[in-house]
Subunit: 275 residues, 4 copies
């Protein structure tokens, strides 16, 4: 069980979300409140988009996030309008930097919470389904990274919801053929630096938690005394595995089997189906 | 808040106590049941005495113990009749190998659970109280290591209970002079490879938990169906921050302000007083 | 460019070969004398066979070997009659524990110095050639580990020279089909705990250096003043990428395209050919 | 033996100096050309000043710099007008993050190449000379960090050359009293974010190498074809343990027993004397 966070909006210092909130992502690495596993101490990562650079920066480490001084330094000195962060609780694969999220391919980032059930049994077949031109970029040994490369193989760059739908369809088919009842459990965020797509789905229809922040204008009316809310742009949005602040009315659950798109203009929320 | 374990008796593989029991020390690194902090993920260490070698071996790492493959390998391949193991939850000092317990000086090992309150205020004065010939051996920045070098300065090698008593007296005096109400909280184990001394004490008289295993002969009568208990010698003893097995009658709390001596012949339990 | 060492003979402390000699393997991690790369600082590993345990123990780390205190502790406290050690200089793949040698499968260990040329281009095809039942055990991303699993696929457990010959044949065929002129460069040692097979081969016929120690009886006559040589058994043998001691007459180059077998009775040296 | 670099001038991406030049600092971590030790693989660090933040950011790690992916990411995404970088070859103290340079106190950074000779013998006395209010900030165990806190104790914030002079005087006195002939060897850079002071000194008058870059206007005339030189401001200056680029006329040796000041307006070069 992992935890992740996606931020899109006015440029802010990473520490505003990673360290400062009462239930910040870093705090959740030691004391998560939702889910079975309360410790996410098997590595972490953050990927952010800077000004004037094509590919996002990536900082990943196998130290528990709560200990990592370098993370704290960087989080306090880097500002970004769009970043993904992730804390890991391994479901079996090795604790190593190449298994830490986000995964990156060109401009794209990917984080995942969940698992491919019976992964050792289907791993080879999943790996073979990755396009030859992409195979060589796989560096780690996780199910999560394979899901990313499958989605890339199936058209992530052109139509993310469709590509993720096809990826889920493929994983479920393969799992069923190997006798796995519920092959996939996932929340996923992916971005190319402008839009963020967030998915919540599981084969059994009981997916891990996922929340998105309420429209900032509404939040300002609810909490006129919170200066931070007055400063950020109307389009600022946070998506998280579990809320980082106890603010009534600030968080909405992403419904089962659905995905959201955070983009310029009105954000969208749609039903998600494997294809 | 940390956790530690001391074993003395028939040579066993380290993993018998570190990994195999239902609430093994390694399991406690992720899910401790007693105490405030349930995660002890800020490094670990194990020190063991081998056959025919003067000084004990030391294996310490800043990775969480639950992740560490090298620990598992070594624990599965090393047998020892006497070892100390420790999992760390930092009370503020850096997570680094030189801050991991056990600390070693010559044949002596030392583990500590607890803290010197307001340590930054008294650290310099405590460091100055360490004997000049020992000062250069201090490698880390913890209160625990300083307590060890103070005890060595005050005669640990000649009379451990008296030296630890004098060390506690010194720390309490110094704390009181700096206006600290309850300067010290500790459970400590120390050994020179033959005897193990275990201390439970705190300035406020509410010390962290400490248990010792029941006499093996009694345990055999209680649990005739447990083959492991039939194999170990009569003198085998375990001292732990919290029980590693749920066996009724197997664990006894070390009383407040007392210390035990595990040695050849009858073990001893005495009142402990600062001096 | 890496360096490795294989020892078979009277049980000795690992540090006798890893740390004590003037040009010990650990010294070579900082100052190798043969080969292009003089620093082997991208991780290390040692695998050893103990008494009464089926599988060998493995200690691997991404720290430079010259720094690693845990390695020094273990090397000083562990004795073994058969061990393989390796220091790594990455040829491109990530520096992580799962990429450190030796690799282990059941009772088998494997170390490699060299590379598969144009590895990213042939990696997928090589991975597909690994038997389905073995594929799930691959944990890292190196060419070296893939060579091991290919050899296992091709019968390593039954006939190591033949299996390695077939593996080399397969890698060369695949490389040639991808237009690689000299697909493979290797020295390899593998063992199941009793015999050690050591291979020296490269597609271009100019393989990395490999040496084996002179028969101990001869060495005793040459160096009557060396007590260590008087103590070890007649069958003791060391195979190394580069000599660890400057003793005239002590080291013999393994010829191009050949392999040696260290075993009970007379050791053997044969021509090696891809199959 | 370590290597360091100080940059002051037009904001540039850190990788422009850390990774891109032919003999970049990171390249020097594996292949230094000057000095006895050619490998600086015992950790590294970089401290940089950002826009609008009081204290500099610090990124330090015990991995060899040539391997560190996080360093490469950060170096490629962070721009700064003033930064110090350091690669370490330990002279005996532990390889741990708190022993990596730069050291930081408030706005001040400090890097050191060299050593206090017979450090274990004088360490305690040097530590006692640190002001009580500063003592608690010492986190590591190196001579270099102690020199920094001694300089702070002796007025670094008010008059750096005088404070460093007094620090050197104190270290030499103490060394001589302990019978050390040449107590100190050092090149040092320190900065508060606006000015950079760089010192070259050793008790024996044969100090480790130190170079400063030629005035940019002169460089432009020498190398009209180098676009990078046309872009940076006139006041841009680099100080390094050894040149990072082979450009004739670009580097000047800092003379023995002297110090330079890089500041707004004309830079200065003065004789340095212990006080």
């Amino acid at each position: 069980m992992c935890r992740w966070l996606a931020y899109s909006g006015s440029p802010i210092s990473l520490e505003e979300l990673l360290h400062k909130p009462e239930h910040s992502l870093i705090d959740q690495s030691l004391h998560a409140r939702l889910g079975v596993e309360t410790t996410n101490g098997d590595g972490f990562g953050v990927g952010w988009y800077g000004a004037g650079i094509d590919t996002p920066a990536l900082f990943r480490s196998v130290e528990p996030a709560w200990n990592d001084r370098n993370l704290r330094e960087i989080a306090g000195h880097v500002e970004s309008p769009l970043f993904l962060a992730h804390i890991r609780a391994s479901t079996g694969t090795a604790v190593q930097q190449t298994n830490c999220h986000p995964f990156r391919y060109g401009r794209w980032l990917w984080v995942h919470n969940g698992l491919v059930r019976e992964f050792p049994r289907v791993k080879r077949e999943l790996a073979l389904a990755v396009d030859e031109s992409l195979y060589g970029f796989i560096e780690g040994s996780t199910d999560s990274e394979l899901l990313f490369y499958l989605a890339l193989t199936l058209g992530l760059k052109d139509d993310p919801p469709r590509a993720v739908g096809r990826m889920v369809g493929l994983v479920e088919d393969m799992g069923h053929r190997h006798g796995v009842e519920h092959p996939l459990q996932m929340t996923i965020a992916t971005t190319e630096g402008e839009n963020v797509w967030a998915f919540r789905y599981s084969s059994e229809g009981r997916s891990r938690s996922l929340y998105y922040s309420t429209n900032v204008r509404t939040l300002r009316e609810l909490y006129p005394e919170r200066p931070r809310l007055q400063e950020v742009s109307d389009e600022t949005r946070i998506i998280v595995s579990e809320p980082v602040l106890d603010l009534v009315g600030a968080w909405n659950e992403v419904p089962e089997s659905s995905y959201g798109l955070v983009c310029e203009g009105e954000d969208e929320l749609h039903t998600f189906r494997p294809q």
